[in-house]
Symmetry: D2
Subunit: 377 residues, 4 copies
């Protein structure tokens, strides 16, 4: 018997759309025993909320997230608002006994995130942070291969997340669509927005990070605020480079920027081990590059694996070999795993607690960028 799961969405922006699509589509492709229902959405801007709810078929709307949380008919709260609002909403939802999911990062800082972890654990509610790239089939394949020991001892991990959308000084800070440039709303710049993805995947694939040394930079020092129009100092990191030492003895390098002309969402990662190497690029998310040193000498090379076969992670649920999937499917997979977790009682990772660790590393990056010193996690 399929159970209904009533979703209460907070927000209506880019991420709210991606999550709504996941909740809507999952039961067309995965049989989890649950059918999500887009029960209600909450936001302050009534006309935008109305349009969003109509497009996605939310049954009702609330002008205040508190009202949403107060509703008996809501099973899970999904938080898709700027980072500075995650903590308050998540804690309230947990206290109300709702399942809680929040868009990444967990919070602006680990200090802000810790009470969120405590709240969900105390309430005993299922909880998850949407580090969706773990659920790209190619990334899951990498995870499986690394975990199976296919690469042997790991020497290197490197990841980058490059964009170019803030090069113009005319891009404002604050406001919808550009709150990511406002340090108060976002907590940090590329570190919390982009590096957080890289760090989450890195620790999932290669274990804990012991220490980091970082270089951060704000290229454009002043931007007008989107709402007030007033020029204000920019408080975020426009770019960050990181050297890291993992607990397993391997070396990590990370870089993120919104000033790399020509790169849109260039999240790339590579891991080098004694017996082989693996790499991946978000722009071609259905592909894994694999170098297998066990192959006969003259035939060795990087194998371009098109991850679309039925025996590839998640892909048996979609189409036929050769037919690719896109960005939003990673969210659908995350919902599928979340629902599976409800069934089995083992909520899908990353939990709030898992994600707190990523916040800790991000905090260390920001601190090291300021001090110029290595920082232990």
């Amino acid at each position: 018997m399929t159970k209904l799961l009533n979703i209460g969405m907070v927000g209506y922006g880019f991420m709210a759309r991606a999550h709504s699509n996941a909740w809507s589509s999952v039961s067309h492709f995965f049989e989890t025993g649950y059918k999500p229902v887009l029960k209600a959405a909450a936001a302050r801007n009534a006309s935008k909320l109305r349009h969003f709810a109509d497009m996605w078929g939310y049954e009702s709307v609330e002008s205040d997230w508190r009202a949403l949380i107060a509703r008996k008919d809501i099973d899970a709260i999904d938080i898709c608002v700027p980072n500075d609002l995650h903590a308050e909403i998540a804690i309230a939802a947990a206290r109300a006994g709702k399942m809680v999911l929040t868009e990444k990062p967990l919070a602006r800082t680990a200090a802000e995130g810790l009470p969120m972890v405590e709240a969900v654990e105390k309430a005993g509610v299922p909880n998850m942070v949407w580090y969706n790239y773990r659920r790209v089939p190619a990334v899951m394949l990498i995870r499986n291969l690394v975990a199976s020991g296919k690469l042997g001892r790991i020497f290197h991990y490197r990841a980058k997340f490059l964009q170019d959308w803030t090069i113009s000084p005319d891009v404002p800070q604050g406001g919808q669509g550009t709150w990511r440039l406002d340090v108060d709303a976002a907590g940090s710049g590329v570190t919390g927005d982009l590096l957080a993805h890289c760090i989450d995947t890195a620790m999932w694939l290669n274990g804990s990070i012991d220490s980091v040394s970082a270089m951060t930079e704000t290229f454009i020092k002043e931007r007008r605020h989107a709402e007030t129009g007033k020029a204000q100092p920019v408080g975020i990191d426009d770019a960050a480079a990181v050297m890291a030492r993992f607990q397993n003895g391997s070396l990590g390098t990370f870089e993120s920027t919104r000033y790399a002309r020509g790169h849109k969402a260039a999240y790339t990662l590579e891991i080098n081990g004694e017996k082989g190497s693996l790499s991946w690029d978000l722009h071609d998310l259905n592909r894994v590059q694999f170098f297998d040193h066990s192959v006969e000498g003259q035939l060795r090379g990087w194998t371009n694996i098109l991850v679309t076969d039925g025996d590839h992670p998640y892909m048996g649920h979609w189409w036929v070999p050769g037919l690719i999937i896109g960005y939003e499917h990673s969210f659908t997979h995350q919902v599928a795993d979340f629902l599976d977790g409800l069934k089995t009682g083992k909520p899908a990772a990353p939990s709030f607690r898992d994600a707190l660790e990523t916040n800790r590393v991000c905090d260390a990056i920001i601190a090291s960028g300021k001090s110029g010193q290595w920082v232990s996690i």
Copy 2:
């Protein structure tokens, strides 16, 4: 005001899933004035139909497509069954005044397709054949560039569609999933299944084809039937190569096979003109390769355009730059265009009549493969 459009689906297989996804998702991303409703699905196999209907939320089921067509509450019939059934269903649906959409090819042969064209035109009902690859944003971008004259005089068009799934002699013919190997059900082998896509796109991009010369081959001469288990001669073309002359004086080459080890759904196309060239590959469907001869000499090269920006065809409806979409989105776009066509009164291409032309070229390919002679269209 959004109007409801009640869909009656015939079939429950791979294509029925892709179409159902398109009908379900379109109104989340496109505002067309119509909201498709998955009203009813019809098929003979009750248990498979039931499962399919449940997964997609069809409101009801029918064990016979005739019953579906007879229903007053159905606006459009969508045909997702083997090719040999297209004609009868489509003609009946048209006569009943339904909009009719059929999976490609229109029919097994042009002779079989002609009465279908006549039926929909006589009934005056909106009609469309699902040559979905036209709606890949990258392919639409190519269409726009070619149509704008960006390439100048065209010299060459070449396309291939390579697969490898029938290399094993153990693959049966006939039955669900393998009816494409049964000449009675499919009409032809790779010609109707794969080359038909190549021909449809080619004529859309580069105009009519005057004549063709083809080489066809059946590598495995006998296969057991999926249902009877009896070995029977194979009647389809396993592979086909084609030389073509377009009306505009350019030369075309086409090739398709299910025996190209390592290729899954390798539909590639390229067009060479005096001023530039464009190419595309289904495996990386979000990319266009463009060579622009007007660029300063030492900077000329093939530009790899990641077709994910807001000003690229259809992409403003999805995510943000750099985030790719997948195979099934092409169907969603086709539905969006079909619904726009209802609103404007100009049904989206390709109509049954457009698709008949592709059947004619396919017939000529099969004939030339047998005779070894050039065949005029």
Copy 3:
């Protein structure tokens, strides 16, 4: 003891340079027991010949190739002049007891080439045609893999050689550098110039061709002659597409043109077998793409082999892994193999007789292009 081998070069153009480089460099990298000496070069244009001889260190020059052949101190005649001169020079050289090497194709037609074959065989002199691409390490690796049965039964062979240098109607025909557009000098257009390479490699890798059907086209019907300035009809094929049946039952497709904007010397080939596929691209000549179906399912893909390791063909003679070689190295390898052949008494392929077979296929292509019929070889 190293023996000197005195080379008599006929010509001073592009190919004379590539060959001179090979004769000059071979003994720096290969120990064959022979050291080529650039003894003398012959051509009619005295000033150009002088400059060429100075650049390459030819010890002397002759204004007539007959004088070169008459010299006692010349061991081998290397023919690097337009195709219409190959036969007369080669036959005279053979009769004079010289080793004879000629740039490809052997002759303008098989009829013209046959007496050349008879002459070298009657004289019993070592002979070779410079189908240099066989000696690209990546191509030799493909040859070794195919010959070892790695691909199993072969289904498909396809090759293209695309260029774009004659798109402008201002390119003249005839004269130095453009004699390849003059049917009298060249014998044919892209067929003898470019397809000849594709055919040579194809038959070397995949065996004899039984029959072909071709489409040829001359896009620009009239060009001025480089020397007279007079507009004249163009007699060559600007483009050619070919369907072929190999003796082993596999299908071949070939295409060549000088009107594919954006392609400079895009010789690509691919061979698909039951167990795997291999492909290669001259623009990236150090790479082989290999799909190995014997690999575990979810790890299968196209492996990009960088052919620069010491155990790759020829590469132990060059640098270290990762460091690529270029176009002209293929000629150096051909000389190394030719010199090895002298030592072992088994002259390196392709001999004049081997190359005659390629001329036969080219003749059939031209004939089929005119008749529209399949032509048996």
Copy 4:
């Protein structure tokens, strides 16, 4: 009138071969007014030296480099021996009034290199360090584009040089071929061997580096010595990651290792500016990737420029468009530029003084790797 330039080579290894090829081949392709003559080679190992001299046609040999320097008939000394010998030989050669060229790096440390600079400047002799990658046509094209302002304000520079040849603990340190693992002979590990190339190119393209912070690691702590067989601590850096700040305000990241399985000589670089980006990969050395933001929005992308046209740097001296060159050509170009410098009186860069700056940055990297602190240059 062409002048002869008599070369005295010190060494017979990999680099001596690459340089000898350059001296030998340059006058076949470039008209510089000079013709290098391989006059004499010096080394201690008589049989290896003899073989080397025979392969390359050196007219004579010397068992001691001092004897070579003492010879009146030698114009230029070319140093191709381990790094610890550069200083003594170069200083002696300069004092003897010879032109001096040394393989990179200039010396093991800047302290060791400074007297070399002083010696050549005091003697007033032409001098050059073989940072050959500057002369790859693609890299020179990048240099020209950056220098012309095509990229606008620079934000990021990143380079990596990845190898995998020392992963096995069985690779010895010290001795011929493996002296690069011996800190006494090499001075450092990947920093002086590989990063030095990255740093040289980076400063040439993007200006001075102000400060660096580095992470270095020795993965295998003990290796036997190639000659003594005795296990000894490893003193070199197996891997190094670097964060850098350039004087122009841009951020740099560098990484090098010999433990990146699957990478052979993977020197890659990328530079991101306001108006565009450029990147390059040694494994495909004839290609430049260029993102030009000035292109019309929907046509923007990374253009893959095949740097083989006649108007590309150096390429007019080689073959025809589409035909690639290899690794060793970069040395031939360096010789061509060196000889041009002799003619014009402006010796080609990088001079000893230029290269000293690279040594300074490398010293800072090693120091920072030890201290964990930022180090100013």
